[in-house]
Symmetry: C2
Subunit: 176 residues, 2 copies
């Protein structure tokens, strides 16, 4: 049985993230969605062990600089609960290869909201861009619909924040 | 099957941590050891959901202020791999009750190294006291013996650091 612990990594280059368009796997939780690279931890692996292995397997790149940015508890009525260790990486070696699980593409950060994403991913992309301290984000879905999210244990409703709400959230995170 | 994701929390009061002496459960990974409170995440629970439930179940306390300090990957040749979300809590309400899993005791922080602990716990106790940013710590055991540890993906050998090594570690963590 696969562990419910996974890694999810957004590799950065200039102002782009390396995005994976999941169009190759059958019966895929992320079918047709754009996500980062990563996958399930294997027996005995730390999140960093898993991160480095998955980066090699999916991109042929060796990560040389990365940061653990947050833990995302992904709860789906269809797929169960997954604990995603969220990383960004800003250093790597090697030459990007094709990936069995989808199409890899460098996407400018400002174009990312136009992609077919899990809606809640917009929340962590903003938190990453704002460079807030480590966060714990819970995202609950019914099918594709975000029905509830929590940040560091605080209930945040179902909707994405407007700018006023974001200001409040960011102020409170930076005061920690 | 129990999820391999758990919480481990050290509740603080003055200069003490609330420690749990695990002397009540049979076939217990932690038998006779002193640990924090916590336990396995249940379906749909974020680490914070799990933390608050376990605190209530094991101590009758309601945590009102807590921080997610690190992720500990505990690898045992006997028990497999567990991902422990490590918290400290400095706010709580209620009256401390007995715990089914062991004896609860407030232990002054400076006396903690004298307790029967997992050896690697001394590493995270130091990291907590030094108030370093969020960390990922991997601890590998053969039986009771620490055979390898890693900090934020860096190999650190099998031994606990001496003071010189600690200075180097803390400087590098604070430079992140």
């Amino acid at each position: 049985m696969k562990k419910p612990v996974t890694t999810l990594c957004y590799i950065e280059n200039d102002d782009s993230y390396l995005m994976l368009h999941r169009v190759k796997k059958k019966n895929d939780l992320n079918e047709h969605k754009w996500v980062g690279i990563g996958g399930h931890a294997e027996e005995g692996e730390s999140p960093e062990d898993c991160l480095l292995r998955e980066a090699r397997e999916e991109t042929s790149l060796t990560l040389t600089s990365y940061r653990f940015r947050g833990l995302v508890t992904f709860v789906s009525d269809k797929w169960g609960t997954e604990y995603m260790c969220l990383y960004t990486a800003d250093g790597f070696q090697g030459i990007l290869s094709d990936c069995d699980e989808g199409c890899l593409e460098w996407v400018p950060k400002k174009e990312i909201p136009r992609l077919n994403l899990w809606k809640g991913d917009l929340i962590f992309f903003r938190l990453l861009e704002e460079n807030v301290p480590f966060f714990s984000l819970k995202l609950c879905y019914e099918g594709d619909r975000l029905i509830l999210w929590q940040l560091n244990g605080m209930d945040m409703g179902a909707d994405l924040p407007d700018e006023e709400k974001w200001k409040e959230i960011l102020d409170s995170l930076r005061a920690i």
